[in-house]
């Protein structure tokens, strides 16, 4: 007891007032980060490790530990916990961003060498595996057509299902639909491909085509559209529905003219994310679209190609020229998805409820 009383004045003396306390300067986290990275590299070099991942782990660990130690010493334990939490968030952020940047860098640096107007406008017709040249036109065309058809099938069905679940559902049927949508989310893409292969190609006897692939892709896309649209519709305030109904507007027009426009930004983003997801699918395309070196603009007849399938094929060939083409196609694929996302964001921003005066 007396011990505690004796200790008190010491703590108070170190602080000018009870509400203020010593603070580390604002540049401290940056300085600690720089120091940790330097130390990580130093230790890594000294120990002779080749893996840069190990260097990074040491640096991250040092960053968190030094932050904790230094803050405890200067600012007190509560602030130390706060700073450790903050620095952990930063470490996780870096952990997430480093692979992303590294992937983008590798793809761009290896893919740029072949990417030009010729690459985008020519197919692989008559190009030998070991030979340089050729292009992705047939694959890009196939991807656009297959993804377009899949979206045309899945987006309306998914949208209407979500409208049913949010605006009309509530009984056993809605619960069952929700359950099966959840199950569908977990279907591996190869299973969706095999399903279409078994019914469309083997039972009904159709040959490989872009349309068959699109059907498998739409199976993968549908649950994503339903889920995201459902969440967006739930965000529309009930007051708006009531305001519309109270004006004597029928329910279907309320949904069409008030609920959907209010949520259209989020719905567009959701659909575009689903599109981005299926654009990179390889397995069902491999089974159902088959792949070809030629340009086939008709998605309903004969084999087509697609970008992920093209990457896979060229990688399997393995010659230097083919590897370069694989990286080039990967870059085109990433750019394609990115452009779609930017367009979706643009639409979402343009259509979002306006709040400006």
């Amino acid at each position: 007891m007396s011990h505690a009383i004796q200790e008190r004045p010491v703590t108070v003396a170190s602080r000018p007032g009870s509400l203020s306390h010593a603070r580390l300067p604002r540049w401290t986290p940056a300085a600690i980060a720089a120091g940790s990275i330097a130390a990580g590299i130093g230790i890594g070099l000294a120990a002779g490790w080749h893996s840069k991942i190990q260097w990074g782990m040491i640096a991250a660990l040092l960053f968190v530990l030094i932050t904790y130690g230094l803050t405890t010493k200067v600012e007190g334990s509560r602030q130390a916990k706060d700073r450790v939490a903050t620095s952990l968030v930063w470490v996780c952020f870096v952990l997430a961003v480093v692979p992303l940047l590294s992937l983008a860098w590798v793809t761009i640096s290896k893919g740029m060498s072949v990417l030009d107007g010729y690459f985008l406008t020519h197919s692989m017709n008559g190009v030998l595996d070991a030979e340089a040249g050729g292009g992705v036109y047939h694959a890009l065309l196939g991807t656009i057509e297959q993804v377009g058809i899949a979206t045309l099938i899945a987006a309306p069905i998914g949208l209407l299902t979500a409208v049913y679940l949010v605006e009309y559902g509530g009984g056993k049927l809605a619960q069952a639909v929700t359950f099966f949508v959840d199950v569908m989310t977990g279907i591996p893409s190869i299973v969706a491909g095999l399903f279409v292969l078994a019914t469309w190609n083997l039972m009904l006897g159709f040959g490989p085509s872009g349309f068959a692939g699109a059907m498998a892709l739409s199976i993968l896309m549908m649950p994503v559209v339903v889920r995201s649209t459902e969440e967006m519709l739930k965000l529309v305030p009930n007051e708006l529905r009531e305001a519309s109904l109270a004006l004597g507007i029928p329910k279907w027009r309320t949904i069409l003219k008030v609920v959907l426009p209010t949520a259209i930004g989020g719905i567009t983003t959701g659909v575009m994310l689903a599109v981005a997801r299926i654009t990179g699918e390889t397995a069902p395309v491999l089974l159902l679209v088959f792949g070809t070196k030629l340009i086939n603009p008709n998605p309903f007849e004969g084999a087509q190609s697609s970008l992920p399938l093209y990457v896979y094929e060229q990688f399997a060939v393995g010659t230097d020229a083919a590897m370069a083409r694989a990286w080039g196609a990967a870059l085109v694929l990433i750019a394609f998805v990115m452009i779609l996302n930017l367009v979706a964001r643009g639409i979402a921003r343009w259509k979002a409820p306006k709040t400006a005066r």
Partner: protein, 258 residues
């Protein structure tokens, strides 16, 4: 245009829970009737039964009769959508449609119900906004979003939207509870003007407001929490606030509640 409402033996339920019990009353045309009473006594629920909005709530169910002049709103072949065109509603929180401009908000009820010519719409929108005392404030920015207005302006926009479809009755569910005193005054003045054309029913927690705007006042109460709300008495506002016939009303009005 304004019509008389005659309610008899009306009970409303949320699932198995009875929210209001056996209410009978008459609302006179071209007058303002105020509903007062403690929270949870079923004023709003009762109001929503008058334009069949109660059944929009999942589990909402109504028994009894609501006569609008000589037509039962709960008759067998009555279309709730048609009822709501005749009996308009203004809500507690201003709720303009966020995707629509000021003009489109006012025109919404008409446009989403059928085809109108542009010139005709222009007239109706101008008339409605003037009717809601909002025209002078927004006439230069009819194409700006409605959500950019202040709370009081938004509420008057919602009133304009409700009167644009030319209803016979206007229901108001605590229309001023989210507004500042100046906006409240604007709405109260507006109610005074609107009662020349419409039958108005207003739910309010503000007793002074009921005394200021209404011709007749109904007091609702509930026996205990979880019990259904009941109509205690309905009389001229002056009498309710000076010499009510039921002790509970006097207790509530003078703040000796419970």
């Amino acid at each position: 245009m304004a019509k008389r409402i005659d309610v008899s033996g009306l009970s409303a339920y949320y699932g198995a829970h009875k929210a209001i019990d056996d209410i009978s009353m008459t609302v006179e045309p071209r007058s303002v009737t105020a509903f007062i009473g403690p929270s949870g006594c079923g004023k709003s629920t009762f109001l929503r039964t008058l334009n069949r909005m109660h059944e929009v709530t999942p589990g909402g169910r109504v028994e009894g009769k609501v006569m609008l002049d000589d037509e039962n709103l709960y008759g067998t072949n009555v279309d709730p959508v048609a009822v709501r065109r005749t009996v308009g509603m203004v809500f507690q929180r201003p709720n303009p449609f966020p995707t629509m401009s000021i003009f489109d908000n006012v025109a919404a009820g008409l446009r989403l119900n059928g085809k109108y010519k542009k010139a005709e719409l222009n007239d109706i929108v101008e008339r409605s906004l003037k009717g809601a005392n909002l025209w002078n404030e927004v006439k230069d920015r009819l194409n700006k979003p409605g959500s950019g207005l202040s709370g009081g302006q938004q509420q008057r926009l919602c009133i304009a939207r409700a009167i644009a479809v030319e209803p016979d009755v206007l229901l108001m569910d605590e229309p001023c509870s989210a507004l500042d005193p100046i906006s409240t005054l604007a709405i109260e003045d507006l109610i005074g003007e609107l009662k020349e054309r419409f039958t108005i029913v207003i739910v309010t927690h503000n007793m002074q407001q009921a005394a200021r705007v209404s011709d007749r006042t109904a007091f609702f109460n509930l026996a205990a929490v979880g019990q259904p709300g009941k109509l205690i008495e309905l009389d001229d506002t002056e009498r309710i606030f000076s010499n009510p016939s039921v002790q509970a009303t006097e207790d509530y009005i003078s703040g000796r509640f419970g």
